[in-house]
Amino acid sequence: MASKGIGSLIAHRDMNTSASASLVGNPLSMRMHLNPDVVRSIVGVVAFLAIWEIGAHSAQLFASPLPWIGRLPAPEAVMAVWGQLLVQKSYWMDLYLSFLRVSSGFLVALLIGVPYGLLLALNRVAYEVGFPTFEVIRPIPPIAWIPASILFWPTQGLSIGFVIFLGAFFTIVLNVIGGTKSIDRRYFKAATSMGASKLNIFRRVVLPSVLPSIVVGAVVGMGISWEVVIAGELITGGGSASGSGSGIGFFIWNSYVAAGQAAEAKIVVGMISIGIMGYVSSELIRFIGRRVTPWLVVR
């Protein structure tokens, strides 16, 4: 099943990062000499910045700008613009509004998706009635819903929120179903033979077994939510008031449309800000996930 594939994939990625972290944090080798992996990654990042720098200045350095990377804004221009934006209230408002949309759509997806997934996974009739229709709607990319969503919902915020909900909902439901179906049947039998009621089995067997899958689904869903919010803000086009801030996707789009001084630099600042926001919110979900599934944390 596809959901299991994704689930095992993410779990593996987490294991992988923790393994490399322990490799880096070896105190003995740190004291003697620098870890070669750390040195290499520093070299890699510096080379990346150098290529970016050369590309940005290629118009002055060479006769004509390099293809593709010649249009990039210089890193120092990006930093300068970012420095100016950091003290502006509208920049923080943009970040806050996008975050608000992501978190509200995501929370609704979690609140509806987890019970729906559990219902489908635990009840045969519900599964056979509900799952085929779910599978028919799922291949439509959430972005394709944006125009329909704008038509349906009264405000822009609600329509973007609905599309975010769709994006996260399918992943969460699939992961919950996959997690529930992979529970060892012997646990049910053992619990039943020891006299557990249905409610007891649900609380003591099903919920703890599904929690890791819910966390995985939530992490993936959070990533999709950030993709969707940017798409939603780009496509609904420009937003209303740009002065007070209206979302980081709007910010990028407005910078692009206005095409004024340092437009490219502003676009890149927006991209980096989204990257940071997305990264932080995924880490937040992972952190909460580790807190609610302490038995999975390797000491």
Binding site: E128, P141, A148, L234, I235, I274
Partner: protein
Amino acid sequence: MAASDDAGRIDSSLWNVLQLFQGRRFYLMLIGFALMLGFWHLSVEVWRLSRFKEMPGLTEVVREWTSREPSFGISIFTGDYYRDILVSCRRVAISFLVATALGIPFGLLLGWSRKFRGYVFSVFELLRPIPVIAWVPLAILMFNGQETPVIFLVTMSSFFATALNTKLGVESIDQSCIRAARCLGAKPRQVFVHVILPGALPYMFTGLQIGMGCAWFSLVVGEMVAGQFGLGYRINTAYVTVAYPTMVISMLTLGLVGYGSSALIRLLGNALMRWRARELAL
């Protein structure tokens, strides 16, 4: 021997199809679809709920989709419909091939060589949290023309999924398999061809499937914002020109085509990994 095996399989699949119509599963599925479509039909065309005022109804969409003379110009009998499908498929196919051709060697190297991973992976991880969608305006500025930005975006989104999963696939290989091959005298190249490549194949195909999903996802954004023609473009144009049935037709077509392309990769994967298909009793 093989022939009789095949015959048995065909028999059992035929039996499965017959089972489908006999069992209650089929009827429950029908109930599910009836509920969904019934809700759509009733809320839009019968009860005319106020929120659904702008939505095209079920019968309206079906009539438009199958009409010889559609009122908004798109149905299964018009050439424009198939051109949109073709343009979208062509974009996805080009991007997906490029992403696969780059992403699989890249991922194999990332998993195989510690040095390469050290130099490149940090940059890869720095760029990865930025949603591909956020690249749209920059891609339009960086690449001239209408076609290249879309192809760049789609390529990038499926490249990340393919490369990352291929890397995980290489890392998932049991180290003792590699050691065993080395002990038996395999050269690094032979280890690569006979251990690493087949070992990483299952993850690779998971990556390709996720990559295909990502490709359609970003294709829609690219076409809506930057492209000309294609299903995403058609959805947006239909919305702007108030051709709402066309919008729904394009959405449903996107779902169908996207599902078909994922199924194609799954089939290819099962053909390449017969040992695994047998294990999972597919």
